[in-house]
């Protein structure tokens, strides 16, 4: 409960401060001014009331909800699969020197390939349906978690090792009590990096593989129909959800790292 309160405070306080609204409001005013110049401008800079009307319309037809949920579901599944695989591989590499020597060169090589550059290959393997998208999204979560989990788990301090010896800790208890908490700040940094990256990749994958429910798909259709208002509603939804996710991860970090003197998350 207290986490929720802290979270709300954390999330709302920057929103409340007047200064943080100055530039967005100015931009909005500029936007609105531009749209009122002529028809050409009105196409590129859709008047705000049109965007609002499109929003209400999409909400009424249920299109916005269905597609937002479609995107969220994919992002969540991708994050869970990719994140879990990343944690497992990172931990495996940290615990086994041989695994690290075998895997880390190829991992670092593959990591250099831009994710979306892999799409033709993935389309070939998995088609252009949901599984291809989830695969790409999972990769977006996978990379940062492998690296950070590995880093967090592989540096361990001998003074805590001695403590584990003194108290006769089993391997599992040493992991639970010492190595995992020690790695936690690193893992949370990984999650912090992975979440926005995952969300961006979700929309991007929907733009590339145009099938199934998703905000990216709606954006593609809107672009084809020159419906800039719908496109903007989708873009704003994506942005807003991105902000919410980042805030959630930050609140989670603050809670899990409450034992630290300063919450540097």
């Amino acid at each position: 409960m207290s986490t929720l309160i802290k979270f709300t405070k954390h999330f709302i306080s920057p929103m409340r401060s007047v200064r943080s609204w100055v530039i967005p409001l100015l931009l909005l005013a500029l936007w609105q001014y531009s749209s009122s110049q002529n028809a050409g401008h009105a196409y590129a800079f859709v008047p705000l009331q049109n965007v609002y009307n499109a929003f209400i319309e999409l909400l009424k037809t249920g299109e916005l909800l269905v597609n937002t949920w479609g995107s969220l579901k994919k992002a969540l599944l991708g994050f869970i699969f990719g994140g879990a695989a990343g944690l497992a591989l990172g931990a495996f590499m940290a615990y086994s020197k041989i695994a690290n020597a075998l895997i880390s060169p190829i991992f670092n090589a593959i990591r250099q390939v831009p994710l979306l550059g892999l799409t033709p290959l993935i389309a070939l393997w998995l088609g252009n349906g949901e599984s291809a998208k989830i695969f790409i999204i999972a990769l977006a979560s996978f990379y940062p978690l492998v690296i950070n989990t590995y880093q967090g788990l592989s540096h361990h301090e001998s003074k805590y090792q001695e403590l584990a010896n003194m108290y006769q800790f089993s391997g599992w208890r040493e992991f639970r009590r010492i190595r995992l908490p020690q790695a936690l700040p690193y893992i949370l940094t990984g999650i912090n990096l992975a979440v926005p990256f995952t969300w961006i990749t979700t929309t991007a994958s929907e733009l590339l593989f145009n099938a199934g429910a998703g905000l990216g798909g709606v954006m593609m259709k809107a672009e084809a129909n020159a419906a800039m208002d719908i496109l903007l509603v989708c873009a704003l939804t994506v942005t807003l959800l991105g902000i919410v996710m980042t805030a959630l991860v930050r609140a989670l970090s603050t809670h899990l790292l409450r034992w630290r003197p300063r919450h540097a998350a």
């Binding site: 805590y160 403590l163 108290y167 006769q168 908490p181 020690q182 034992w259």
Partner: protein, 247 residues
């Protein structure tokens, strides 16, 4: 019968291409419930000796026996308190104290009681849920003492436990340790470079000389507990220990 027996103990460290003798022919017999202080200048091997008794270092020649059993590796029957508190920063005071009980067969309720009793023993009631970064150095060392005692070890080894504390806190904790030792009736070995501390707390003070680490003499401190810091007899014994160390 002696409780802890150290017989003809030698310890070498490999250094470059020869062996450096850190401990040379250490013989020591400690009775149950006794408080032994070990003093010596840095490099006399006193901390090494303690780590050998703790079982953290298993490479030595000679004999170390506790209750007739040879020491082979760490054991929950031997508690060790380090110079730094070595609390896990991500665990609360209660959880840190509980670390020493995690690999025991005690029930959850028994653990809870033991943890609470020992937190109260070291005077930290009300701080059960605090994290180490919220505690002062002295309080952290109190938690470390509680953790060292919570599983009721046969012997508690203290490796310069107050060395990093300020003079006032050190003074308070020395008196606290005396009180705890009297209350718990547990055997303690304290390694320190503070002669006054050694004399104030010890039933006997083992004076060590350096290079190689040897026992120079053992001074019995025949002053009844609880002792006062201002005791004249202690003052004389302290001077005797100092002259032994420097000659």
């Amino acid at each position: 019968m002696s409780f802890l027996t150290i017989h003809n103990l030698n310890k070498h460290f490999p250094q470059e291409n020869k062996l450096l003798t850190v401990l040379n022919q250490i013989d020591l017999e400690i009775k149950q419930g006794e408080f032994i202080s070990i003093v010596g200048s840095s490099g006399c091997g006193k901390s090494t000796l303690l780590r050998l008794i703790a079982g953290l270092d298993r490479e030595y020649e000679g004999e170390i026996r506790l209750n007739g059993q040879p020491v082979q590796g760490p054991d929950l029957k031997r508690g060790l308190i380090f110079q730094e508190h070595r609390l896990l920063p991500w665990l609360t005071v209660s959880e840190n104290v509980g670390l020493a009980l995690e690999e025991t067969a005690l029930s959850l309720a028994e653990r809870k009681n033991l943890i609470q009793d020992h937190i109260e023993l070291v005077g930290l009631k009300g701080f059960e849920k605090s994290y180490p970064h919220q505690l002062s150095g002295g309080m952290s060392q109190r938690v470390a003492i509680a953790r060292g005692l919570v599983n009721k070890p046969d012997i508690l080894l203290l490796d310069e436990p107050f060395g990093a504390l300020d003079a006032i806190t050190r003074d308070i904790l020395q008196k606290e340790l005396q009180r705890i030792w009297e209350k718990e009736k547990i055997t303690m070995i304290l390694v320190t470079h503070d002669i006054e501390e050694a004399v104030f707390l010890g039933d006997r003070v083992v004076v060590m000389s350096a290079r190689p680490g040897k026992i120079k003499c053992i001074i019995p401190i025949d002053v009844a507990h609880p002792r006062q810091k201002e005791n004249a007899q202690l003052f004389n014994l302290r001077n005797q220990a100092i002259s032994n160390l420097t000659h």
